[in-house]
């Protein structure tokens, strides 16, 4: 095939959008709605996940050392802890801070502190945050094995709960996305089928004058892809506008933010590129394939 031939077929595909504008518009709308449905379900999931992970990050391992540990050893222990697999950050907690923490934790019977003189008796400690909250127990156990560590504790119930929550959310979101994708595929397939059906005679005529299947399909491919790109671009801009509005509303509620980890909602700028790529690629590929696959039935003459 010469370059002029490829140019001709590409032009044909683009012209066909205009010549069949009603059907092209129908395909565009169906693709747009499908992309928005699947896209918003995916974005919802990604944010839920991020929120749950955010909550998990508030989960730390409290490490307290044997009070007899000397200061040099305390410093080297900090590095040792940081080197442990899955450890994200290690913050030193001085005796004084530890004392304040303890005071805060003990709400009842605060009066006891009146009898305690100073905080020298408190051990030095570290607050360790982990990368993967799901492995917090394993990491806690590892830290506890260090000789100088008197106690290492995390709240495994919280980790367990978050893990379970994520599993449920993933399952539900996954099922939702698959269901929406299937519904979308059916809608898209029906629309492209109708669109191609309206032009089945054209396809037959082309076959009669000796056009190969590839020759007939190429404009359909281009047409579907371009329509899909437009739908992808449309879905992107709609998502952008809606996402930003929702993001603003939610993040303005400082209380909500802290309570539900809404602070972990991903700002649109952080995912813009992925959203754009997903929409354009999915739109283009599904549009092109839907259109080409629908021609198959009519090519057999």
């Amino acid at each position: 095939m010469k370059l002029s031939g490829i140019k001709y077929l590409t032009n044909q595909g683009i012209e066909n959008i205009w010549k069949n504008k009603m059907m092209a518009f129908a395909t565009f709308c169906v693709l747009l709605i499908s992309l928005l449905l699947v896209g918003s379900a995916a974005l919802f999931y990604v944010n839920m996940n991020s929120m749950i992970l955010g909550l998990g990050n508030q989960n730390e391992i409290a490490v307290y050392l044997d009070p007899s540990t000397d200061q040099d050893r305390v410093a080297s222990l900090q590095n040792e802890l940081a080197a442990i697999d899955n450890v994200d950050a290690v913050d030193f907690i001085s005796k004084e801070e530890a004392y304040v923490r303890m005071q805060n934790q003990i709400s009842r019977g605060r009066a006891i502190f009146d009898y305690i003189d100073g905080y020298d008796f408190m051990p030095d400690g570290f607050s360790v945050t982990v990368k993967d909250n799901d492995r917090i127990e394993e990491t806690t156990a590892k830290i506890a094995q260090i000789t100088e560590v008197q106690s290492a504790s995390s709240s495994p119930q919280v980790a367990e709960f978050l893990r379970e929550l994520r599993r449920v959310v993933t399952l539900i979101a996954g099922a939702l996305i698959i269901a929406l994708a299937v519904v979308s595929m059916i809608m898209i397939s029906n629309t492209t089928k109708a669109s191609v059906f309206a032009r089945r005679e054209e396809i037959q005529i082309m076959k009669y004058v000796g056009a190969t299947n590839g020759f007939i399909r190429t404009p359909f491919f281009v047409e579907g892809m371009v329509t899909g790109f437009f739908a992808g671009a449309g879905a992107f801009f709609i998502t952008w506008a809606v996402y930003r509005a929702v993001y603003r509303i939610l993040t303005e509620q400082a209380m909500l933010m802290n309570a539900f980890g809404i602070g972990s909602i991903i700002p649109f700028s952080g995912i813009r590129l992925y959203v754009a790529l997903f929409y354009l690629l999915a739109g283009g590929i599904i549009g092109a394939l839907g259109s080409v696959v629908s021609t198959r039935k009519h090519l057999d003459v």
Partner: protein, 288 residues
Amino acid sequence: MVELQNVSVTYSSGVDALNNVSLKINDGDFAFVVGSSGAGKSTMIKLLLKEIDATSGVVTVNGYNLNKLKKRKIPEFRRTLGFVFQDFRLIPSMTVYENIAFVLRVIDAPLKYIRKRVPYVISLVGLHAKTNSYPDELSGGEKQRVAIARALVNDPQLIIADEPTGNIDPELSYEIVELLKGINDQGTTILMVTHEHDLVRHFGGRIINITDGEIVFDEVITGTNDEPLPEEELAAAMAEAEQRSDTAQIPADAPPAAAPADAPVTSTEDALIDEVIAALTGENGGAE
């Protein structure tokens, strides 16, 4: 060249559309295929275009054995022939020019050649003024001329026409056949299906009659080359012919009684031809 050897076609519905048909059309021939509706004419055309396959027998067109032709090779084969159908089969979203140029695009012809060749064939069919019109903006006769231009733009060895005059005014039918005759004069083989006996009578040539899926008549007759007769005149001519001829009824399977092609054309002979056609096609000549 077209050759059918003992070809039968049975549709999946069980209808035997063609029954042991053998036929040979040589390069450069012009042949009419006549026969009543449902006789199997279009079935034969579909065979020749490889739209359907023979149930048995061998079909050879332009040197391609269609029985053995691979799917992949069908486009290549179809490029060696042109087709003209009753329903025109133009692409509605393309202009006259684009419809015709498309055939050359398919074979990846150089753009320069397309730009010269397409206007040339458009002028051959006298549609220069309609070059940029869409099919919807054309009359039936004009549409069919576009279809003919498309059929010949690729300079095919063979043009197959299935009732090309079926959807256009009778007066214009003659123009269409004239056009096909002109193309035939340049060496292209033409096979034209029709049930308009006036046309056949007028132009003459090789007449193949298919009745109930069988070839019952295959002879060369001389055309009258008359202008189409009005209905009454035709009826009168028929009556006259019946009187003159001893055998008013010719059995369908009797050997053809047509006069030899080289005999001088007389009015008696014309009438006889009428009658033969009428009898063989099971219709009243000209009543169609």
